[in-house]
């Protein structure tokens, strides 16, 4: 008897990492940057197709799917466990990554500072991201975050002649290395306490009173060990997602890297870190965990809510006093990450699955909206910088230039209005759902804070609008590259299309995805039924 497992589930991260290693071999044949860019587009396109297949497969199955690496069954081997939430999230990341690589085909190939190793790092960043999204194993998550981080450190420092890039990379690397070391210690503590590194296995034990063995050591008791391990887990991922007060690296990084790299950060790496925090707090240590652990989870969610609110406020205030467009966008990210964590913390107030699924749906929609808006703005500013051969994104320099590049100029307006949350752009709906869900649980103060913070952030977005609505005499129309026009047009259409799609099954799909995040039973059942089927083969 043989157990058939669809190999597609485990293919994406491996393929991306393999492509990253193969790419330098081509440098013996050609040195043309255009070739390496096309290679990256082809690989990203294949990833997009594969992620679509996985998403459709998981949607059809109606329950999570499991892929054991090398045929080793979990919890001994590494397993990928894909439910509707991470399947949909990965599909979205693949789409955004594809758009960024298409844009990059114009932006980076005309930049003399770009070397083929840039694409090695870009593929590595994507490989790490997909590994983090699909994995169902705590240690494999550490490895994949390492892959993502190493690529990120090098991408930030890529402009070696720019001292600001090097400074930003140094700061990010030092703190990132400390953060990841803490997560490594967390993995040790999880293993010492649970005897397993599989997420579903730990989720099962965290809900079983028989796991509460009365040993004298910290590692002998899952409550004590989880308290320490969770503290060591949350810090690195709130650092990666730039939640206040772990956001300090962000403005330096965004303002010193290529807009393409900044778009990658804003488009998917930070969102991936938020996904990991949500996976820990809603699936592994989600509903129905032993009451002793449940108290801890509530305090952590409460702390994340406070940090989310502070992050949203700090980001909104700091936006208004920025003179650099990319720095302004960095604080806008701090603001939106704050909103996302406000939605994520809904579990602090309620354990009702009906409310949780709306709150987490709002979180997912806000992640999607923020990624679209931020990628659109970074790429538009990149187009302006490239068109006028600027090394700076100073707002005074950019003011009025949006008129000379019609598509990029329009995209800046659409992106800003979308992030403000103005209807009919879909940015409105995620903020509306966050507002609505907090009203429905009798927390009008938090709902009001969402509105207030948005109002404060208007001061900052008004500066961005001046790029298009301001005047700069003496500049004629500039012809934008096809790649730039296409990508920005698609992103602009998406902001409206998502609004319309919310009327269709897309709303139900988002709700189902949010449900799958809190549905620990299906997550554990997939794992246990696989293990049982595997063991029955030997009986």
């Amino acid at each position: 008897m043989a157990l058939y497992i669809n190999p597609v589930y485990g293919l994406i991260p491996l393929m991306l990492i393999a492509a990253a290693f193969i790419l330098p071999l081509f440098s013996f044949i050609t040195k043309k940057i255009k070739f390496f860019s096309l290679f990256t587009i082809v690989i990203t396109f294949i990833v997009f197709i594969l992620s679509t297949i996985i998403f459709l497969d998981v949607y059809r199955e109606g329950k999570p799917v499991l892929y054991p690496f090398g045929g080793w069954p979990p919890p001994i081997g590494i397993a990928y466990e894909i439910d509707l939430f991470n399947a949909l999230f990965a599909f979205f990341v693949a789409f955004i990554a594809l758009l960024i690589t298409i844009y990059d085909n114009w932006y980076s190939t005309t930049d003399p500072r770009i070397h083929y190793t840039f694409y090695v790092l870009l593929l590595g960043l994507l490989g790490g991201t997909f590994g983090c999204i699909y994995t169902g194993d705590i240690f494999n998550l550490f490895v994949m975050v390492e892959v993502l981080s190493l690529a990120a450190y090098a991408l930030i420092a890529f402009y070696r002649s720019n001292r600001y890039s090097l400074e930003a990379a140094l700061k990010y690397t030092l703190l990132g290395a400390v953060a990841l070391s803490l997560y490594f210690v967390a993995a040790i503590v999880y293993y010492a306490a649970y005897g397993s590194l599989n997420m579903a296995d730990i989720a099962y034990m965290a809900r079983s009173r028989s796991s509460l063995t009365p040993f004298s050591s910290i590692f002998g008791n899952i409550v004590a060990a989880t308290a320490i391990a969770l503290a060591l887990t949350l810090w690195p991922f709130t650092f990666k997602s730039a939640l206040f007060p772990n956001h300090f690296w962000l403005p330096d990084v965004y303002s010193s890297v290529s807009p393409v790299v900044a778009a990658c950060f804003a488009g998917f790496t930070e969102a991936t870190a938020i996904y990991i925090v949500a996976r820990y707090l809603y699936t592994i240590f989600g509903l129905d965990i032993v009451p002793e652990l449940s108290q801890l989870r509530s305090v952590v969610l409460g702390a994340l809510l406070v940090l989310g609110i502070l992050g949203a406020l700090v980001g909104a205030f700091m936006m208004a006093i920025q003179r650099d467009a990319r720095r302004l966008l960095a604080y806008s990210t701090v603001n939106h990450i704050g909103f996302t964590y406000i939605a994520l913390s809904i579990g602090f107030f309620t354990k009702s699955p009906d409310i949780l699924r709306i709150g987490l749906m709002a979180m997912l929609l806000h992640i999607i909206n923020h990624s679209i808006g931020k990628v659109m703005l970074f790429l538009s500013i990149g187009t302006l910088m490239k068109s006028y051969n600027l090394n700076t994104s100073d707002l005074n320099t950019l003011t009025g230039l949006g008129r000379t590049t019609p598509i990029a100029g329009t995209a800046i307006v659409v992106g800003a209005l979308h992030l403000i949350g103005l209807p009919p752009f879909s940015g409105f709906f995620s903020k509306y759902y966050i507002y609505q869900v907090y009203l429905s649980i009798g927390q009008p103060f938090i709902a009001w804070l969402v509105v207030l913070t948005t109002a404060i952030s208007l001061m900052g977005y008004a500066k961005l609008l001046l790029i298009t609505f301001g005047t700069k005499p003496g500049y004629g129309k500039v012809r934008e590259a096809l790649q730039s026009r296409t990508v920005l047009a698609i992103l602009m259409i998406l902001t409206i299309a998502i609004s319309i799609a919310l009327y269709t099954d897309f709303y139900n799909l988002l709700i189902k995805a949010a449900e799958s995040l809190i549905d620990y039973r299906s997550y554990i059942d997939t794992f246990s039924s696989f293990v049982n089927t595997y063991l029955s083969m030997f009986r």
Partner: protein, 123 residues
Amino acid sequence: MASTISLNPIDLMLISSLSTGLVLAVVLAIFRALAKKEMSSSEDAFAMYIGGEHESILTLKYPTTDALYWAVLKRVFRNVYRYLVESLHTGSVLDWVKYMSMWYGFLMILAILIVMMYMVMGW
């Protein structure tokens, strides 16, 4: 008693889009009406002072609404900005570490408290 009106997404989108469109149209109409007067002044009137303000400010009896908005905003949020810029975002990596350690410290204290609580409770 407060009442909540639930709308389906398409109604919500239509109503919110139309009302936003209406507000924008009104604002645009007001802007156009006021901008006309502004445009009637000569080209020289657009020369800027170093302070960044319009020359016509000298002829005004009262400050413009724009200037009032920023003045009030700066006054109201002066302390907020003083803290944000001079204490929080100083640019020094040591200050970063200080603030980031606060969040980490909170998590660790929470973890240690829980460990102690359950140990005291008799494991």
